[in-house]
Symmetry: C2
Subunit: 445 residues, 2 copies
């Protein structure tokens, strides 16, 4: 085999490995990783999520770990340390070189989901009294020493307070003898260390910043948050919201990497809660047992009617949840949204009730309830009115629940489709049977 063919084969098998990675069991992952060439392994390792990197590091023999830990930037190393078991953390920390270890230790003091936990402590710092030319040659030396992020230079005073910022493009195009303090911008957008990552990502994406400086209360510069971290945050937050909207707790690691037992825990809790909530439908049905016994035909439409409330509620709640997550609406806009959704709910209810009338006709024609020949119009009227009521109620409840949750400081995304459906099911039954009593009183009931 010529070396070239060998190389080709190696590349092909590595590509296949990367493709199948997510569904491989952990042992095979580590084996596969160790079979890659050094270059491939480097690229592959760096493109993994912190969770993936932690799996690799914990899977390989301890003697090989130093190499991979040292490949990580301090902020990435801190993320990996947060993914490994508590007891392994100290040992991995010890593998880092002294200055990096200090940087990582400082980062570990922050929560994962706040600005401090996202930032990198390595950024280009210059003094206000340098000239453009001096700054450029200073930064060139810094770049040789491995400073990765060269988009902006930050101008700090002697106490490390942020005075201003200058982009590389501006440095590049400024006159070489101009002092930095004349070139820099002083109206810098900064974020505090404890700001929630969701808000940070919104600021970055609205302003198209490659990097955003993080400062403490006294204005001391602590680090920068770069666009790549923001992309990850945006993906993560969307994943969390989607999982919550689906009616479960958010998984912290990717679906396929979550063990069966931890996943069961995240899912079955909500399922059980919803199941217990749905128990009230049995109570409600028990309360209307006499009506059902007298007119079994009423039972036929129960699933249809209550589900129409759940579906319209699910639409309304996901719309509101997403708009809130994107910062388009705030809690105090609730009345504005309520008015919109009442209009939507009524229109949707009327349209569905027309379909319901046709449907009752069709069922009658098919002979499903021939026995009620004389009352088919009244039954159709009952179903149609109930549908309007239930859809309107579903829409209003679905759109208002996220506001309620946010007001009591819970995540609006917990207003999941299944939760709304459960809430609306019980009230849907009450709406349906109350309508039936009003319309069919003295006739069937």
């Amino acid at each position: 085999m010529t070396p070239q063919i060998e190389q080709e084969q190696e590349r092909a098998s590595s590509a296949k490995l990367q493709e199948r990675w997510s569904i491989l069991p952990p042992e095979e992952r580590v084996q596969g990783f160790q079979s890659m060439s050094r270059n491939e392994a480097d690229d592959f390792f760096l493109s993994r999520t912190p969770h993936g990197q932690a799996t690799i590091i914990m899977g390989i023999p301890p003697i090989e770990r130093r190499l991979w830990m040292r490949l990580l930037e301090p902020d990435d190393a801190a993320d990996v340390l947060q993914e490994v078991p508590e007891e392994a953390r100290a040992e991995l920390m010890h593998l880092l070189d002294e200055p990096t270890r200090r940087e990582v230790a400082a980062l570990l003091a922050y929560d994962e989901d706040e600005a401090g936990g996202l930032m990198s402590p390595r950024f280009a710092r210059i003094r206000p009294d340098m000239t453009v030319d001096e700054a450029i040659s200073y930064l060139r030396r810094q770049a040789r020493n491995g400073l990765e992020t060269l988009y902006y230079a930050y101008i700090l005073d002697r106490e490390q307070r942020l005075l201003g910022i200058v982009s590389f493009r501006e440095l590049f195009t400024a006159h070489p003898d101009q002092p930095i303090k004349e070139v820099m911008h002083t109206d810098v957008i900064t974020v505090p260390e404890t700001m929630d990552q969701e808000i940070v990502s919104r600021i970055v994406s609205e302003n198209d910043f490659v990097a955003l400086p993080v400062v403490d209360n006294e204005g001391h510069m602590k680090g920068i948050i770069t666009f790549d971290d923001v992309i990850d945050v945006v993906q993560e937050e969307a994943t969390e919201d989607i999982q919550k909207i689906g009616g479960m707790q958010a998984l912290e690691v990717p679906y396929l990497q979550t063990g069966l037992l931890p996943m069961l825990k995240k899912r079955v809790g909500w399922l059980a809660l919803l199941f217990v909530g749905e128990m009230f439908t049995a109570f409600a049905m028990g309360y209307y047992e006499d009506e059902i016994a007298r007119a079994v035909v009423l039972a036929l439409f129960i699933p249809l009617i209550i589900s129409s409330g759940g579906n319209s509620g699910s639409q309304a709640s996901t719309l509101v949840i997403r708009s809130m997550a994107l910062g388009e609406i705030r809690v105090r806009d609730w009345w504005h949204i309520m008015r919109r959704e009442i209009l939507s709910g009524v229109s949707q209810g009327v349209i569905l009730s027309l379909i319901a009338i046709c449907m009752v006709g069709l069922l009658f024609w098919q002979g499903v309830f021939q026995s009620h020949e004389n009352h088919v119009f009244l039954i159709a009227a009952t179903v149609a009115c109930s549908v309007i009521g239930v859809v309107l109620w579903g829409t209003v409840a679905g759109s208002m629940l996220p506001f309620l949750l946010r007001t009591v400081r819970l995540d609006p995304a917990s207003a999941s489709a299944p939760l709304i459906a459960t809430l609306v099911d019980v009230s849907g039954l009450v709406i349906y049977f109350t309508t039936a009593r009003l319309i069919l009183h003295g006739v069937l009931l």
Copy 2:
């Protein structure tokens, strides 16, 4: 009033305006925009989405439009043009200067959601035979002429084919006399013009690229896609998926900017479809009318049982939809997922069935169905077995439907919670009444 106080007040009122922007009616938006100082208006305009920018441009008097159109980079101008009514497009195009107009016209040939529709045609191009020093001074001149994106320089041959790439950091740290062709990387990751934006965003976020070159079939460089476009794409795609998961068509513009009628169209279509689908529950119930008439107690548990299938299905489908969107699982992994979900479904079903048994006991104790004193254990058994069957079926159906949709080239995200619930409702009734016939035959039925 001192000028400073005036300035302060202006800033405060502008901040308030920006906050309330999303819920303002269009006329007030334009008024508000026109009341901002030029600097504020600039920042504000550039931070809007293309839809927001289009609203502003169409709202202000035609004579003011040129200024704002010319503030936009060609890729942003193309996005804005795609948001305005067809008949206004030519007029707005005409406001651009000649070279920009040509660039914009080329971009408008691409679909909005493919790589070509995302890219900017302005990037730093250099020749392979320049020295590092020549390249730097050439780029300095280019930067003065308004080249915004200075992260990488692209090395092209005379036919504009991409030969390699060099980062500014590398240019900065390389020896000034070295020829570019010795410094550049030739193993560049590129994307074709027609690649779907979802895949592009995945490549950027996995590799942490600030910018990604777009090339045509012959390797000619067409433009670059920058990180800020990718953040927008990631947000957009998540919003679309969330809206679909909520059981509706994706809105193309933000919730609050969508008129009531267009929104009704996006929502009521799916609602009506689901409503018609749910009609089969009425047929199924009609089929079991005799059983219900003989044992009304069975009707009490209908909402409880069918909703448990819908809820477990909603969890499974959202998990699979999101993992697919993140590229973690592919269609051919279906069997792997199926096995996982069968295990989940059985465990969840068993846990819920235990709750169901307690619940039947509780209802009996509360006197809801005292009349069936002798059969309370059989009723509990019927409910418990049905719950296991329905939850397992919901989980399997929910996890497999996204695969099925992708196989027939539909969006897996359409496997919404309401759709799964509707599908599972009919089959849930069949599972329930079949179990009831088996267990209660000769007793109640």
